[in-house]
């Protein structure tokens, strides 16, 4: 009985929320604009997956998020490693990154629209910029903190600089890089959805605004469920990849 309770408890909260929602929807006290019933939301969700144009909206958003993220990952790891292993580069770039870290880069979006156009490019550029910060900061911290003893041992055994980078510095930095990824992936989703809500004619963020403007709360919530599932799946993929690549360290923590 006790083990059953332990198993069931995590679902209890979710169950209570869903039951309360359905009760509110069926009570008839509120319009279905406020609380559409779960049945309607699931029907819209079903419709969503049967329409190819909706699936292409998912692809549009995914492309923007992953495109910006991939660029940020490539540039961020490179910059972080350079800053971590070279005092000169760190002295040049660290003040820039730490000085502008707290500034909301999202405010640049209206200007990005003029520079890169209102299409995908301005959104990818903003995703790149927002994702760059956590990745640079984390990989810099990792590359800076490579244990000296490991470096000395490698040097002592006659490893070349390239070999040290490949065999010592990168493996030691990898957990930090993935910690940066873990922060950056939700950021990429946030930025894509926001920019699509603000200025776009396609993508999931636009579908949220469009459904709401047509007063279809059920459809909007179906899109929200899709966005949520996507955000969750991307995060899970980062974790899976990390556990596969960095098998030598046990990492299950999740802090920001």
């Amino acid at each position: 009985m006790a083990t059953f309770l332990n198993r069931a408890l995590p679902f209890a909260f979710l169950g209570v929320v869903l039951v309360a929602w359905e009760a509110a929807a069926r009570s008839g006290r509120w319009s279905k604009l406020l609380f559409p019933s779960l049945e309607n939301i699931f029907r819209e969700l079903g419709l969503f997956f049967t329409k190819t144009e909706m699936l292409s909206e998912v692809l549009v958003s995914l492309e923007r998020a992953l495109g910006g993220f991939a660029l940020a990952a490539a540039a961020g790891i490179l910059l972080g490693l350079l800053m971590g292993r070279s005092k000169l580069v760190a002295a040049l770039l660290d003040p820039l990154f730490s000085g502008t870290y707290a500034v909301p880069k999202l405010a640049l979006f209206p200007i990005f629209i003029f520079v890169f156009g209102i299409g995908s490019l301005s959104k990818v550029a903003l995703v790149f910029l927002e994702c760059l910060y956590p990745i640079v900061v984390m990989s810099y911290a990792g590359a800076r903190g490579v244990p000296e003893k490991l470096l000395w041992s490698a040097q002592n055994m006659g490893a070349s600089r390239a070999a040290i980078l490949r065999r010592v510095v990168i493996p030691a930095t990898a957990p930090f890089i993935f910690a940066g990824f873990r922060v950056a992936v939700p950021v990429a989703m946030i930025v894509v959805v926001i920019t699509e809500m603000v200025a776009s004619a396609d993508g999931l963020g636009y579908q949220v605004i469009y459904a709401m403007s047509s007063l279809r709360t059920d459809r909007m919530l179906a899109v929200v469920v899709v966005i949520a599932a996507l955000g969750y799946a991307l995060d899970k993929m980062v974790v899976l990849l990390r556990d596969r690549l960095i098998y030598w360290e046990k990492l299950d923590t999740y802090y920001v």
Binding site: L34, A102, P110, F114, V115, I190, M197, M220, V256
Partner: protein
């Protein structure tokens, strides 16, 4: 601001100004011109009104979200039944962009400030909850044992052992949630508002007033920077025993 940061800033601004010498598109103003427009805007009332409107949304949202995040995070880290009930739901919804809830919040709580404050609070809740939770969980068991051994009550252990060991992580998450509060505030105002810096930049964009766009951008950048400095200052004040 450190000397290195000031130096880097000067170099970037100088390069930007020099690059703009050979002519620039309307939408890319050189720094001196932005400064000129910003000082001009400081003389009028509009900028202050928008800043007040923006802060009137972001600060209550930040305080509300961070308070409940810390409270429930500490509770879930301490009490196992609450952990089992609450944590899965929080970790499951953590990677979801909270801003997508804005339209439904607008339906529930109106298109006024309440829906924006609540969406900011929702976004700020997550990082603080997660860090408070892990802050409690990583309290060193040996310290708890020692306190128990010396006859400390459960309340005293929480106050004197668990809380101090979780505090650095809670402060770290406050920096994140403050930055998030500005992002979500700005986004919500760009999507739907009649005042605030996000609204100001939208209006400027629609009327091609590039000067006002940069004024709003500079204002939000300065606010974000100042807020971050304040959280860091509070951190070093409250946790004076710990190097940050």
């Amino acid at each position: 601001m450190g000397l290195a940061q000031a130096g880097a800033l000067v170099v970037v601004l100088l390069a930007w100004q020099l690059a703009a010498l050979g002519g620039h598109p309307d939408y890319l103003l050189p720094p001196l011109e932005i400064g000129k427009h910003f000082i001009a805007a400081l003389g009028g009332a509009e900028l202050y009104q928008n800043i007040a409107a923006s802060l009137g949304r972001s600060i209550p949202g930040f305080v509300l979200g961070s308070f409940f995040g810390a409270l429930l995070g500490l509770a879930a880290g301490t009490a196992r039944w609450l952990d089992r009930m609450l944590s899965p739901a929080v970790f499951l919804t953590y990677p979801v962009p909270k801003i997508v809830m804005l339209p439904i919040f607008m339906v529930w709580f109106g298109i006024g400030d309440l829906s924006k404050v609540l969406i900011i609070a929702l976004a700020c809740f997550y990082p603080v909850f997660i860090n408070a939770y892990y802050g409690v969980r990583q309290t060193r068991t040996i310290l708890v044992w020692s306190a128990l051994n010396m006859g400390a009550s459960r309340g005293a252990i929480f106050r004197r052992v668990v809380l101090p060991s979780a505090a650095p992580m809670i402060f770290a998450s406050l920096r994140v949630s403050l930055a998030l509060s500005f992002i979500v505030m700005f986004a919500a105002e760009m999507i739907n508002a009649r005042s605030g810096l996000g609204h100001m930049i939208r209006v400027a964009e629609n009327s091609l007033r590039f000067d006002l766009m940069y004024v709003s951008l500079l204002a939000i950048a300065l606010l974000g920077y100042a807020g971050d400095r304040m959280v860091r200052l509070a951190h070093s004040r409250v946790l004076a025993w710990q190097p940050s």
